[in-house]
């Protein structure tokens, strides 16, 4: 099938960036250590902060580093789509028989799969060696985590796709991309778990789409979400994924009309 081939192609392409992957791993590991020590200092004084024990908090840190390249920064990702919209080459793509959104989703999933292997495993392993982590022994929990991470990547893609499409109306969408990436860092739980945010902000942040990127997958892995909580988390992610992909289709249709009317 076409989209499987697209995903496999993206996987192979990102596999060739070895030096970049190694450099990224070094950065992930350094930041993992720093945050881990800061969290330790925090949880020493408040051992049950946000409902996490110290081991769970540390696991949260290293899960964040493992998913950083996969779902948060998404190195590469839809940059090329952004560039094609800016240069106007996108007009050609819109007339292809393949669906634009599915094509880029497939490519992004291929990228995410490679980066999960290349930049996800090592930080978790380093973290587990250096600190007492609360990693699950039960394979089913790992399975739920992978599903949750996959949904997180889809939500992340749907958001980045919308930002890229804004390039049809804005002269240069890189400013918006930066703002959106920042919102992602803050409201995904990357700088601090959302449950640790004060009162109302914590509740609000856990309803926003960015919570699907890290907060939910990390909660699944640390065992903070089980049973119905786990199910609710996955449904939350799936709902945002569906809503944002649908919105992406609407915007895509509008963009196509615009290109057709203006002749590219």
């Amino acid at each position: 099938m076409l989209y499987v081939a697209v995903a496999a192609g993206a996987f192979r392409r990102y596999a060739t960036y070895r030096a970049a992957t190694a450099a990224g791993l070094a950065t992930n590991t350094v930041f993992g250590f720093l945050l881990a020590y800061a969290y330790l200092a925090l949880w020493q004084q408040r051992p049950h902060l946000g409902g996490y024990g110290p081991a769970q908090a540390l696991t949260f840190v290293w899960t964040g580093q493992a998913l950083l390249a996969v779902a948060l920064i998404a190195v590469g990702g839809v940059d090329e789509l952004q560039e094609r919209i800016r240069s106007g080459d996108i007009a050609v793509d819109l007339h292809r028989p393949a669906d634009l959104q599915l094509w880029w989703l497939a490519a992004d999933l291929g990228r995410a799969a490679l980066q999960l292997i290349g930049r996800g495993i090592v930080p978790l392993a380093v973290g587990a060696l250096a600190f007492p982590l609360a990693l699950p022994a039960d394979p089913a929990t790992w399975g739920w985590f992978l599903l949750s991470a996959l949904l997180g990547v889809v939500v992340s893609f749907a958001l980045r796709y919308l930002v890229a499409l804004s390039g049809f109306w804005l002269l240069d969408s890189s400013g918006l991309a930066l703002i959106s990436a920042l919102a992602g860092m803050f409201f995904s739980g990357m700088v601090l778990p959302l449950r640790v945010f004060p009162g109302g902000l914590a509740d609000l942040a856990q309803l926003l789409p960015w919570a699907a990127l890290l907060q939910v997958p990390a909660d699944v892995l640390t065992g903070a979400r089980t049973g119905t909580g786990l199910l609710r988390g996955l449904l939350f992610q799936a709902a945002w994924a569906a809503a944002l992909l649908a919105l992406g289709r609407l915007v895509q249709a509008a963009a196509t009309r615009k290109v057709v009317v203006h002749g590219g």
């Binding site: 960036y17 030096a19 970049a20 190694a22 450099a23 990224g24 070094a26 950065t27 590991t29 350094v30 930041f31 250590f33 720093l34 945050l35 020590y37 800061a38 330790l40 200092a41 925090l42 004084q45 408040r46 902060l49 804005l170 002269l171 240069d172 890189s174 400013g175 918006l176 930066l178 703002i179 920042l182 860092m185 803050f186 700088v191 601090l192 640790v196 945010f197 004060p198």
Partner: protein, 278 residues
């Protein structure tokens, strides 16, 4: 021209002229896309602001972190961010060296009568990077108003001194990281571990971290001299490794040493490029 061969001063003048000219052209080019420029400047300001928001959120739950109160942590945050922000503003675009080697445009810089290092440092000069500088400065000013410190002239002078030395130390890391790209062109992200990672480290008090980590950033990659050592002297706190008091004043020497080391690495890298081509 009347330059005597080997004269240092003309080279310095060429470097400054080249830097100023290219930086100015960059600023004017960026203003060609006004909306994006404003959004990027705001984004940069917000990006560093979020870091501090995370710390503030932590202090919503505790009164002290590693034994340090919020104004003290804010002081560490402000001095570290200001130093990194200045280095990033002035020489941060050195990280584009690898990209320039890959697309072959480093050669056009080598044809101009100004040192390549200065040209590259100005290559993507962007006023939007002022965002971090301004944000660091704001936090620093706020913290000085809330610190319980006797502001003797020595302590007051220490603040600009450590800022300048810190900026030089981070600038040396940027330079050394770029020099490494002469050999590994797509390893631009590696230096982030030391620059942005270093900044993330220095905003927390050293008491938070394991001894070995503190030792390695004191003796191996001496980032601790950006703010930890001088700031802890200023705050009247003991440095965890039990170093003698005068080490708090070593930042200028460390900055000079790291600058010299980075310059050597750069020369070595440039020579390797020019003898192997791309």
């Amino acid at each position: 021209m009347a330059d005597r061969p080997g004269g240092r001063l003309p080279v310095l003048r060429d470097a400054l002229t080249g830097y100023a000219l290219l930086a100015w052209m960059q600023v004017r080019s960026a203003l060609a896309y006004r909306t994006s420029f404003v959004l990027m400047a705001l984004g940069n300001f917000a990006a560093s602001g979020l870091d501090f928001a995370a710390i503030a959120l932590m202090f919503a739950h505790v009164r002290a972190l590693g034994g340090y109160a919020l104004p003290e942590v804010a002081f560490l945050y402000g001095t570290g961010s200001l130093a990194l922000g200045l280095a990033d503003l002035l020489v941060g675009s050195l990280e584009r060296l690898g990209a320039r080697i890959r697309d072959g445009t480093l050669d056009t810089l080598l044809l101009r009568p100004a040192p390549v290092w200065a040209q590259l440092a100005a290559d993507r000069f962007a006023l939007r990077r002022l965002g971090r500088v301004v944000q660091g400065l704001l936090v620093l000013v706020w913290s000085t108003g809330h610190l319980d410190v006797d502001w003797t002239p020595g302590r007051v002078l220490m603040v600009p001194l450590m800022t300048v030395c810190g900026a030089v130390i981070f600038g040396a890391v940027f330079t050394a990281g770029a020099a490494f790209q002469f050999w590994a062109q797509d390893a631009a992200e590696l230096q982030n571990a030391l620059t942005y990672g270093g900044n993330a480290l220095l905003r927390y008090p050293p008491t938070v971290f394991a001894r070995d980590l503190v030792r390695s950033v004191t003796f191996i990659v001496p980032l601790a001299f950006v703010n930890w050592l001088p700031a802890l002297w200023l705050l009247g706190r003991p440095y965890p490794l039990g170093l003698p008091g005068w080490t708090a004043f070593l930042s200028p020497a460390v900055a000079a040493l790291m600058g010299a080391g980075a310059a050597l690495a750069w020369r070595h890298g440039l020579r390797a490029y020019r003898s192997t081509g791309s």
